[in-house]
């Protein structure tokens, strides 16, 4: 286990973490402000990736593609909010779960119908495909560092938005007292649409960027969605700070676990068994972490009083 490997995997973990933050922040914002649990969030991730792939191959510009992915996902989010989501705010959580599960089915099958089952082509653009030299003479893909950079910018941007702007003030007010904000005459339905679209856009951005790393296919958003839920449960549903902390924690623990647990077991088990046990444990690690945290803090680490 070399220091270079550790550093490389740490950065991988950060990259996964920042991408998870993009997903989790939208989820937690929507729950914090509107009290709504949205299973279809992963579909926005997928929509962002698909739009990016389609626009990039049509226009040849990756930047154009990513913008299309972000804005397109936000637009889709706004439409979904207007047509479906706003009927669900006062419904019990079960109804919200089922309705948004229905949306997953609609989005997945709809995408499959439009684009087919084979993955779409999306590569990192040449100007982002280089390598950066890390201490210890290792080469690390530039693109992944760019993702981290984008993630950090979004975190800072969100912080500024929430704490310094009027929209942010309304969001914070909405989080602490939903009924009050309506009584104050602020157009709450526009606020809700905006928040929902913002969350969707962030998910789309995550999908757009990750699409170049992995394949763009139907259902790509689902594993990410589950991880995002674990993140917001660990961080505290409704807390952006919690989402950031949880995302980085989950990203790093998951990445390091997958690499180092098999190595650890090789210390005292035969190699093939070590890989099996290590891999099995690594895939369960995040959930074990969540269960342990919830055992001590049932509402997450940075619980927002609801």
């Amino acid at each position: 286990m070399s220091a270079t490997l550790l550093l490389e995997q740490l950065i991988n973990g950060l990259q996964l973490g920042t991408m998870l933050f993009l997903m989790a922040s939208g989820l937690t914002l929507v729950f914090g402000v509107m009290g709504l649990i949205n299973l279809a969030h992963g579909s926005f991730f997928m929509v962002g990736a698909y739009l990016t792939a389609a626009v990039t191959s049509a226009s040849g510009s990756f930047l154009l593609g990513v913008s299309a992915g972000l804005l397109g996902a936000a637009a889709v989010g706004a439409v979904v909010e207007l047509v479906v989501i706003r009927r669900l705010y006062h419904r019990p959580h079960l109804d919200q779960v089922l309705a948004t599960f229905a949306l997953i089915l609609i989005f997945s099958e709809g995408t499959r119908w439009l684009f087919g089952s084979s993955p779409l082509w999306l590569n990192t653009p040449p100007w982002l495909s280089g390598f950066v030299t890390l201490p210890g003479d290792a080469r690390y893909p530039l693109y992944r560092l760019v993702i981290i950079g984008v993630g950090i910018s979004v975190a800072v941007g969100l912080y500024l938005l929430i704490s310094r702007t009027r929209l942010g003030m309304r969001v914070r007010a909405g989080e602490s007292d939903r009924e009050m904000i309506g009584a104050l005459g602020i157009d709450i339905s526009r606020l809700y649409t905006a928040v929902f679209a913002l969350g969707a856009g962030l998910a789309g951005l995550a999908g757009a960027m990750v699409g170049a790393l992995q394949s763009v296919q139907v259902g790509m958003g689902e594993p990410v969605l589950i991880l995002a839920f674990v993140v917001i449960v660990i961080g505290g549903i409704g807390s952006i700070k919690g989402a950031l902390f949880g995302a980085l924690l989950v990203g790093v623990v998951d990445t390091l676990g997958r690499v180092f647990l098999p190595l650890f077991f090789r210390g005292f088990l035969p190699p093939s068994e070590a890989t099996d046990v290590g891999a099995a444990l690594a895939s369960m690690l995040i959930y074990i972490l969540m269960a342990v945290i919830l055992a001590f803090k049932p509402k997450g680490l940075f619980a927002v009083n609801d």
């Binding site: 079960l94 779960v97 229905a102 099958e109 589950i226 449960v233 099995a280 919830l294 509402k299």
Partner: protein, 344 residues
């Protein structure tokens, strides 16, 4: 085994109940059961074993949903991880058959078995224990946290099954010869269907009896107003935990039968899609209704078979139907066919 309005008067100056007769609800229920029994038998006699197997599949999905309905519908616990029990039941059946076939032992200790009289209690025991562990932790949370934590625990089981190569890992585990019941030919489609039918009827009868008992009254109150329950002197947590465990055992038994039906068990039985499908079936049929799971399963399998024959994108229409039901027809199929429940 249908709902009938009981006879006689009650102590005190209370309205007398009308004499025993089958109401609208009872009639619908009886017709559903009768059709479920008669149609596959007819199909078998006419030489269409495919439909018998389809009926078995429907029956087992309904039975799994009966289990979930106990926790979710009657108990108000939105478990998004019931696939864990469905799959675990399946794996018990599969692993038992695997070791019996090979004459090897599970973990080097437990010998295999292809005797269903051994495998079924074992499946229920395993699922009960898993539910006890998961429930003990999860039921300390509530609301969205409960939904998420049950989902997460099911994911744990899913990933674990996926990465344990001995029993197939991602590829799953075949059951080459269906497990046996002494005296019956489980290979025969109709016989196996009748076993599944018996399982469903038993599960529903158990649910009905349970919900009519003192325990059921406590569970109902736990769902409607757990503050009232505690103030009256009953702690909600053990009541919920026990219902959760029983519900998992029913779903687990359905899973064990399902694995034998298909001759195959794989991690997909543990996936969150499976959990979602079970929830969809419960809600389509009508949450907290005795025959809801059966009605929901009929609707689901019908869409899969009929629509699925027309388009491979049938799940799009399932999604639209589900959305429609949640937004506009909240009481599901049973609400539409049999009218509102008297109370609760």
């Amino acid at each position: 085994m249908t709902d009938q309005t009981p006879s006689g008067t009650l102590p005190g100056d209370l309205p007398a109940r009308p004499p025993r007769r089958l109401g609208r609800r009872g009639t619908v229920q009886l017709v559903m059961l009768a059709l479920l029994l008669v149609l596959p038998v007819a199909a078998d006699l006419l030489g269409h074993p495919y439909y018998v197997t389809l009926a078995s599949r429907l029956t087992l999905i309904a039975m799994a949903a009966v289990g979930l309905n106990l926790a979710l519908g009657y108990g108000g616990m939105v478990s998004f991880g019931h696939a864990a029990y469905f799959g675990l039941g399946g794996y018990v059946a599969g692993i038992g058959a695997y070791h019996a076939f090979d004459a090897t032992a599970f973990m080097g200790m437990l010998p295999g078995s292809d005797n269903l009289l051994v495998l079924w209690p074992l499946a229920m025991l395993a699922c009960g224990l898993l539910a006890l562990l998961i429930g003990a932790v999860s039921l300390r949370t509530s609301g969205v946290y409960f939904i998420m934590i049950t989902l997460a625990f099911a994911q744990m089981v899913y990933y674990f099954a996926n990465s344990w190569p001995t029993y197939g890992g991602q590829d799953g585990l075949p059951i080459y010869i269906r497990n046996q019941l002494p005296g019956l030919d489980t290979q025969d489609p109709l016989t196996f269907f009748l076993i599944c039918f018996a399982g469903l009827v038993l599960a529903m009868a158990l649910t009905s009896r349970l919900m009519g008992s003192r325990f059921g009254a406590a569970l109902t109150m736990a769902r409607l107003n757990d503050t009232r329950l505690a103030t009256a002197g009953i702690n909600p947590y053990p009541v919920r935990l026990v219902s959760f465990v029983i519900s998992a055992m029913i779903t687990g038994l359905a899973g064990a039968l399902y694995a034998d039906l298909n001759g195959f068990v794989s991690p997909s039985m543990l996936s969150w899609h499976m959990s979602g499908e079970l929830m969809v079936i419960v809600i389509l049929g009508g949450v907290g209704r005795l025959y809801g799971p059966l009605a929901g399963a009929v609707l689901y399998i019908s869409m899969e078979t009929l629509l699925g024959g027309l388009t491979e994108y049938w799940q799009l229409f399932l999604g639209l139907t589900l959305l429609g039901v949640v937004l506009f027809a909240r009481h599901g199929v049973m609400g539409w066919l049999a009218g509102r429940e008297p109370h609760g």
